[in-house]
Symmetry: C4
Subunit: 229 residues, 4 copies
C-alpha cells in the first residue's frame, strides 16, 4: 500500500512540471493512506526530474519520518494539519503557480467570473489572512495550515478544493494526489483567465448567481451529469 | 462513413490539446454526417490522451445515443441545436481557451482591430446575452444554443464562424471538425492580440472599414484569391 | 542556385513555427537570387508542416511564376516591391506575431526602451500610415509595399531592418531568408518586452541617447565588436 | 580542471535555452576557477545549439584570452569586474529574460511581494543607475560592472544574488555556473509574478517584514532548514 502511494505521489510531483505549475523545486504534492495514517510527501529541495518512488518520504500524522532517506518537504507541517483536520481529503498540492500566486501576493481572492471557475469553485477562491509575527515565530508552517483551516470556519468546504495563502500561493486538495494536481491545474488556469478579465474590465462583477448554481450542480452533488456514470 | 467521422472527430478533439486550446477535459469537438443526420461527439469528461475513435459517441439530431459505450459531452444539446438550425455547418468546437474566455467573462465582444481578425471575422466577434434564471432552469445547454442563434438573428452569419457565450467561452464552427478547430485556433489568437492591443490603447477604435472589406473579400466570397485555387 | 534558394526559403518558413511567430498559415518568408532576379516564396495557404523545397514558388521581379506548381503567397506583390526598391536585402518575413501585431493594431511605433531593442533598431520600430480606400482598391498588396517604402523616405534604412504595417503586422528583412527570420524573432521579443514595460510605466521614456548610440555601434558599423571576426 | 569548467559553462549556457531565458544569442554564462584565476565564458554571438565545451573561451582576470579559438562574449569585462570584486562568487549569468528586462527598462526595482521572492532575495531586487555618457564612452562594459558594484556599496550583498542593470537587463550570480542559472530562473519567475501582481493592484505594498525575515532564514544562514542537510 505504502509502495503504491509512493508511486502515486512521485508521479503527481512530476506532473507539476508537465503542467507548468512549478519551476526549480517550488512545489510539492503529498498523499495519505487513511488506513495506516501515513502521509507520503516529496523530499525537500530535490529536483523533480530526479524523483523516484524510493526517494519519497513517509511520515506519520505527527510528522515523524517512518520511511525514506530524505528530509520531507519543509511544508510538511502544513500538509499534516490539513490531513488531521479534514478526514475526507487524500492528496494535497502546494505550488507557486504564476497567476494564482499573483492573486495571493495582491492579497485578493479570485472572483468567480465565469463557468470555467464555477465548474470547480462555488464562488470566489478564498484567501487567508496574513500570519502575524507571533504566528510566524511560533511555527510558520503549522500556522499556515491553521489560517487555512480558520478561513474555512464559516465556509462550506465542499465549495472550494483549495485556497490562496496570503503573500504566498495556492494550497489545493483532492481525493488523491492526482486529483489534487488536477484541481491545481484548474485553479491556475482560472486565475489566468480572471487576471485577463480584470485587465479588460477592472469593475467586472461576478457571474450571475443562477449560472453559478447551475454549473456547480452540473458537475457536483446528487444531480451531477457531467462525466461518465 | 460513421467510422470515418469518428476518426475525424477524435483527431479534432486531440488537436485541441496540440493547439493549447484546452486544459484537463475542458472542451469538445463534434462533427455531423448530413446524409444520415448523425452527430459524432466527444464522450463527457474523458481525457484527450485516452481518446480513440471507438470511444466517440454517435447521437441523432434529437440527442439519442445510437452508437458508443460512453455518455456524450454534456454540451451535446448546444451542438445539436446549432446543427439543426444551420444546415451548412459540419463541425463545432467548444473550448475555454484563455483569451476568448476572458472576453466572454468580461461580457465584451472582441473588436476587430486588425487584418488578422478581418481575415476570419467580418467585424467584431459577437457575444450572446446572459441566460436568465428561467432559461437555465428550463434547459441550460439547449438554451445556450438558443441565445447563440438569437444573437445571429440580425447578423449575416457568413460574417462570423463563431461566437462568445457570455460568462462562458467560445463556440466555433466550420465545414468539418478540422475546419472548426482551425477557426477556434484563429479566434483564440485574435483574442490574445486584441487583449494586448486594448492594454496598449484602451480607446483603440476598429480597423478602417475599407481595410476590413478588403481582407474579408480577399479570403472569402467569389473574388477570393488567398490560398490554392 | 534556385534549388538552394528553395531549400533556404522552405527552411526559413518552417522556422517561423519553431520560433512561435505564426499560427495556422499566417506568415511567409521569401528570398531572392540577385543574379537571376528570381524570388522564391511560400505557396499561399499551405500549412508549414507540409512544406518542401519543391512546393516553393519562384517568381520574377514582376511577379510572373517561373517555377512551381502552386500559387505564390498573396503577399507576393509587397515582397517584390521591397526587393525592387532596396537592392541590398536578400530575404523578407511577414508574420502576425502577437506583440508586434498588437503594436501595429494600436497604430503605435515600438519605442526603444532598452538595450535589447537598441541592438537591432536604432530608435523606435517605425510604423506606416494606414492605406486609403483608393490605395486598397487600386492594389492592396503593392500599396502595402509602397507605404512601407514611403515610411523610410526620411529614415536611414540601416537603422531598422523592419517595420510595422499599420492595422496589420510586421514586415522584416535581412541579408538572406534566415537572417530575416532572426530579425523577426528579435522584433517580436522586443515588442513583448516593450508591452510589459509600458504596462509597468505608461509614461516610460526612451533609452538615453548615448546608450542607444553605444549599443548600435557595438553591433553594427565599422567599429562593431560583437560576434566573431 | 579547466576542461571540467568548460563543460560546466557550456552546459549552463545551453540551460538558458531550456529555461526560456534567452532567444537568439542574447545571454551568456561564465564560471571561474579561483585556484588558477581563469574565467571560462561563452564565445560572442555563437548560437547555443552549436556550443561545445571546446568552443568556450578561457580568459584571465584581466581579460587576456588564454585558451580557445573564439572571441569571448562582449560582456566579458562586466563579468571580470564582478569576479575581481567579489571573491565568493563562482558563476555569472547575463540574460535579457522578458519580465526582468521589463523592470530594468522601466528603471524600477522588483518589489518583494511574496514568499517566492523572499526565498531568494531579502527585499527588493536592486537596480543600478543609468550609465552617464562619459562612462559609456570610457568603457561601456566595465562601467556596467562598476555601477553594479556601486549599487551594492550600502547593501548587504548576501541579500541579493543578482541585480537589474538599468535600461538593460539582469546580471545574476551563484556559487558556480549552474547555481547562477538557477538564480536567473528564479529571478525571471519572480519578475513575472511581480508584473502580474502590480497589474492586479498598482499600489500593492511589500510583503510584511516578519514573513520576509522568516522565508529568508528558512532557506539561508545558520538556521536554514529547507532542502537536504
Amino acid at each position: 500500500m505504502l509502495e503504491q502511494l509512493k508511486e502515486q505521489v512521485c508521479e503527481a510531483n512530476r506532473a507539476l512540471v508537465c503542467h507548468e505549475l512549478v519551476v526549480l523545486t517550488w512545489g510539492n504534492v503529498s498523499g495519505i493512506d487513511r488506513d495506516s495514517g501515513l502521509v507520503v510527501i516529496k523530499p525537500s529541495g530535490v529536483p523533480y526530474d530526479s524523483l523516484t518512488p524510493e526517494k519519497m518520504v513517509a511520515v506519520d500524522l505527527e510528522g515523524n519520518v517512518v520511511a525514506g532517506d530524505y528530509k520531507p518537504s519543509s511544508d510538511t507541517p502544513t500538509h499534516l494539519l490539513l490531513y488531521r483536520t479534514w478526514p475526507d481529503i487524500g492528496g494535497i498540492v502546494h505550488a507557486h503557480s504564476t497567476y494564482a500566486t499573483a492573486f495571493a501576493q495582491a492579497c485578493r481572492p479570485i472572483p468567480c467570473l465565469g463557468t470555467t471557475h464555477a465548474d470547480l469553485f462555488y464562488g470566489e477562491v478564498p484567501i487567508t489572512r496574513s500570519l502575524t509575527k507571533e504566528e510566524v515565530d511560533a511555527g510558520y508552517e503549522i500556522n499556515t495550515g491553521r489560517v487555512i483551516v480558520e478561513r474555512f470556519a464559516k465556509l462550506d468546504r465542499s465549495h472550494a478544493p483549495g485556497v490562496l495563502a496570503a503573500n504566498h500561493g495556492p494550497f489545493v486538495w483532492g481525493g488523491d494526489p492526482a486529483g489534487a494536481v488536477e484541481n491545481a491545474v484548474a485553479l491556475e488556469e482560472v486565475a489566468k483567465m480572471a487576471f485577463a478579465t480584470v485587465q479588460l474590465d477592472p469593475k467586472v462583477g461576478p457571474i450571475p448567481q443562477h449560472i453559478l448554481d447551475k454549473h456547480c450542480s452540473r458537475k457536483h452533488g446528487p444531480g451531477a451529469y457531467y462525466g461518465q456514470q
